[in-house]
Symmetry: D2
């Protein structure tokens, strides 16, 4: 089988592809980093023939838990992505097999979101009268850090949304796309009412370098951006550095940081319970946000999630903790699954770009209901 | 100017179209009825020339209030409908003028929804595995009465939605389309969760004859279907007769009847407070429905609406009252404006098909939140 | 089975639909006419069940030859039309059977082209700067006779295209749509070059009344429009009357009249060899037209077609003969099959709307190559 | 102004962007090569403000003639590309100015065709039953060399089409897309008839590395692929090496190599008149090809073009000459303009992707008419 990953977000190392019964592959490390788990490659073989793939370093990947009950995503046309049954033997490797319906197939850790699509999103959005495109600075590799300002900057509440600090969490940008497009829909009463009270600052891709490079979590310099918020460096984490500066300039009244979780098959949020300034107001806002989101989108739930931080034990290098502490505002990390939502399973696609998009649209509902209470 | 209304839902009478400065038109009565207000015609003239139109019997129309602050809808391509400024002099006529950008233009009372689109809606929907098409019987003119059953008929709760008993209230079918398409979206967590507990019976057009004939409120026999629910006749109101029979066979746990209101520039509901069986349970359900809908769609409001019936004074010939009394269930008439939503005005389009569609999607939210409480 | 034909171009009479093994149907006569062969109806039954249909008056239809090797067209969604195997026993009836994949299915003699789509075609076209919409007058039923003028009226050559004099020949309007949309494509070098020398006058539907009524060949008054060109009456054949008048006003340098043929499974043209003025110039133009069209669209052929008229024996009541004689110009009837093109068979769809559309596009090729020779 | 070219086919060097009245830019050399002329960058500034751009090394670019009467292409959304007036002072620089309608704009030498779109083209095409995707080998950078085989390999005639040996000639891939999609249209009688006699081997992008890198003419190793056909090296010109090998394996009965010409504002072909084997048969085929193409697509012409080679003086390192000599077959280089087609000017877009696409569709016409004469 011919295997190639030389394209946007490609990541695979071919160990031995000579035997279709055991194509041995390895996932490359992130740039300047030990992280690894994202993969994306194209395989070319014979129609009708079955190929067996083995990711031999699955056990050394960052989130071994992520492989349990995981199904690889695959696509013949690069548009429709389906799931392929996958096995993980704890002591060995991740394997899956597939009989080709067409000669050439893409496999990935999750439905990709390309830089080309990112540029389209930005450039389509700027056409709206509701939206302006800003550039905050450049990444380590020199890409522009794109910010969309949606609504009227004179509105009282400033709501920030960032996505894809971890570039392999592509569901985060699908989710941002849903949120952005709903905000720009002039017929959507909730979106337009929300924009009466708030203006949005959206960074749909915080880590363009890592996205293009096919990293799971790191930027080009090897930094985990979501551990850089306390003291970002213009050299190693300019993406955080510039966004943080703009936040300080503008202010933040609510913050959503969009992510994917490798292990848990659920959609959930993590809050600020461990930050020094945490109080009843923030607790109420967090609880109301979750309660409203759950009521409008049952893909969201509150039963499963991360363990809560002890009071005062928050890691302030993390975006949502730093923002929560700095601005004393509602500040949440939203997590979506790489696997499926175990509560509402879709056997064909698992969790997907489309479902992330719809989730992004419904994120406006709790913001609308809470906007006047944010301060 | 050449004026023609010989097409789906066409209605106008040309009194004198010889003088472009005063084209005199009249609205025809509904079939076998005194009702009249819907109009829909095509005018053909010269690009760049301004035409003045006068509807000379505006004052004799069914809802004279409907002409106050009313803007006529117009379209060059039959897809994009914009508003044209309109004047109503209480003692005289409705007039509007327009400079032609293309030679041929449609004018209508509201954005039309053709029988051809109705057939497409039905036939596209039946392709979904979630949906079956049924035919309940035939109208006075002999058209099929189309019912879509969405979801699994074994589910506990039966939710009925009817639209366009009054055929000129085309926003009702746009709204039904939004509701139907959301239910059929397999990625929509709320819709699919709702279908775990409920099955929908949707009649997207209760009055096909009147729709095609260009009536405002009557069917082909001259019946106002929304006054026929206590004793419909197979001869004069077969549309109600057959739907009522199916309701009795299946049962009803919630009912939404979709309408447009000529006068009020708001979206609102009318409930069952006047039916004999009205009680705290129904009152709570109605209030919760409104409260939830308002929270997810600010196009909906509860400040403006119809006067409430006195206890026991409901008109049980009206669909929502009859259903509420018969099935002791949540039963609402939803009203949308012909004008604009005064709370969230769109100067270009006023209230529109697109906004009705989005409202239809959000009708699922209160149903989802209330489904387990419906009985 | 529930059978209904109360919609645009519907035509069927239910004799007995009680036995799914032998649903007996008859085709209604055209309005005020003995012609009949077009049918279009919707059947509603049970998924998975097989229904047998018999058209009991097939033998009395206008073109009994048309049933030989004929396959009925069918569609579940009204967009994709496939063929269903059909049997014709010379001495009896036309029969076909089908196992339902969805409850509701359309059957028709050929892929329909609705008046709603006609209106869209006209209104979309008028948006182009290249196109103006004119109304020539009204049909017997009062519908507008729509004319599209494409290009600059000052151009030297006037090319006329008419379609669907026989309303059941819906392929003619699909074909006209292809021709129109290619002319309006500003990137199409051939179309735009042709418009340097010529202006087009296109009547995409000559017989709106018959189209809506579900006729095969007649208008509302029972006239066969393609036998009315010598002395049309404003009362019984206003469609021809008004088009003829406009032709006399404008002139004609080439004329294409688009049709379908019930019997022959081929695309072909009929020329003017029988008109008094026929000469070498017209013969050459006809031969060159055919030769060029064949070279760019192998769906067109010259082997099969109608017998040629004897010199001087042309029927001058027929459009192409009358125009040819009146204007001494290239004047052709183009015929497409109701069945399939036997030379290039498509088992799934037979001849179709899409193929007619592509043929319409390629009609511009011979016109482009001949435009400077037309006079 | 913020200027960035870090994306697919980006190429610009910012000399000084501090003064909006004179933003000084330079075009980078192709990889390992002196060639340069392609540019593609994104500028971000203030809405309503006018920016003046100067390409200071325009005079050192490969085709100085290319700047005469050249208009730069620009796009706000990356989909619709319009032309911006451009000045070239022979002794100095290329300059253009533009008032921003949105903050962020793309400028390029010609409408880009991204690798992402290339992958979509390949993967959509392979879904057709008419098409198989093959990979011939890898480029210098390691990208797959994609070949689409369209039709049945057992057909007698083998027609080869290559595009974009020179990566900055993006019109070549737009043209290939048109040709491919027409071949895959099962309703297109000409395409399907042609596939009865021939099978197509299409390489839509011969130079993926150079395309992504933003080169004008070279591959990653600095090779001008269209001078490598006599002795390609697997190391420096593997793209030619592998295609040539496959040609030798399969045979070639006709060959089209798609290009853009920097200087001439016309569409034209260059033939094989200088190859040793040139004879009357080849001359006739070339003349017939041109004559037919001209008759179906007036964007093509034969008045302007390259000077003809003297007999025996062809450069056999050039693809079409090498193929013509090796296979004694019709072998043509097709050239499209970077500027506009001076014969059929489009002031808004100049020559464009859409026009190249339509040209690609019409390339099938001469092949269809000549297929039986190719040998
Ligand atoms: Ca904007
Ligand atoms: Ca179904
Ligand atoms: Ca126009
Ligand atoms: Ca294939």
């Amino acid at each position: 089988m011919n295997i190639n990953c030389l394209f946007d977000s490609g990541n695979i190392e071919v160990i031995d592809a000579s035997d279709s019964k055991a194509i041995k592959l390895a996932i490359r490390n992130d740039s300047n980093s030990e992280f690894k788990q994202w993969f994306h490659f194209r395989g070319h073989g014979e129609i009708g023939k079955t190929y067996n793939f083995e990711i031999i370093n699955a056990k050394e990947c960052s989130y071994v838990d992520g492989w349990k009950d995981y199904q690889v995503v695959a696509s013949y046309d690069g548009e429709y992505w389906f799931r392929v049954h996958t096995q993980f033997d704890d002591n060995k490797l991740l394997s899956f097999s597939h009989q080709l319906e067409q000669p050439t197939i893409f496999f990935a850790y999750f439905e990709p979101y390309s830089y080309q699509r990112h540029l389209s999103l930005i450039h389509q959005a700027q056409h709206s009268e509701l939206c302006q495109h800003h550039i905050l600075g450049q990444t380590v590799d020199g890409h522009d850090i794109d910010l969309l300002i949606i609504g009227d900057e004179s509105r009282e509440r400033k709501i920030w949304v960032t996505a894809r600090q971890h570039p392999g969490e592509t569901m985060a940008e699908w989710c941002a796309e849903g949120l952005i497009e709903r905000l720009l829909n002039e017929d959507d009463a909730l979106a337009q009412s929300l924009l009466q009270d708030a203006v949005f600052y959206v960074v749909p891709n915080m880590n363009v370098d890592g996205s293009i490079r096919g990293n799971l979590r790191s930027n080009a310099a090897g930094a985990n951006l979501n551990r850089e918020w306390q003291s970002p460096s213009v050299k190693n984490s300019p993406e955080v550095y510039h966004v943080r500066n703009k936040m300080k300039e503008i202010g933040v009244d609510a913050f959503l940081d969009l992510h994917g979780d490798e292990g848990l098959p659920y959609v959930f949020v993590a809050g600020c319970e461990g930050i020094p300034s945490y109080d009843g107001r923030l607790k109420n806002l967090e609880e109301e946000f979750s309660s409203i989101l759950k009521s409008v989108n049952p893909d969201f739930q509150t039963e499963f999630g991360y363990d809560k931080d002890e009071p005062g034990k928050a890691n302030l290098t993390v975006a949502n903790a730093w923002v929560g502490e700095e601005f004393k505002c509602l500040s949440l990390t939203l997590e979506m699954p790489f696997k499926d939502n175990a509560n509402l399973s879709n056997k064909e696609t698992g969790w997907s770009g489309d479902r992330s998009y719809l989730l992004g649209q419904t994120l406006l509902n709790p913001l609308y209901q809470l906007v006047k209470k944010l301060r």
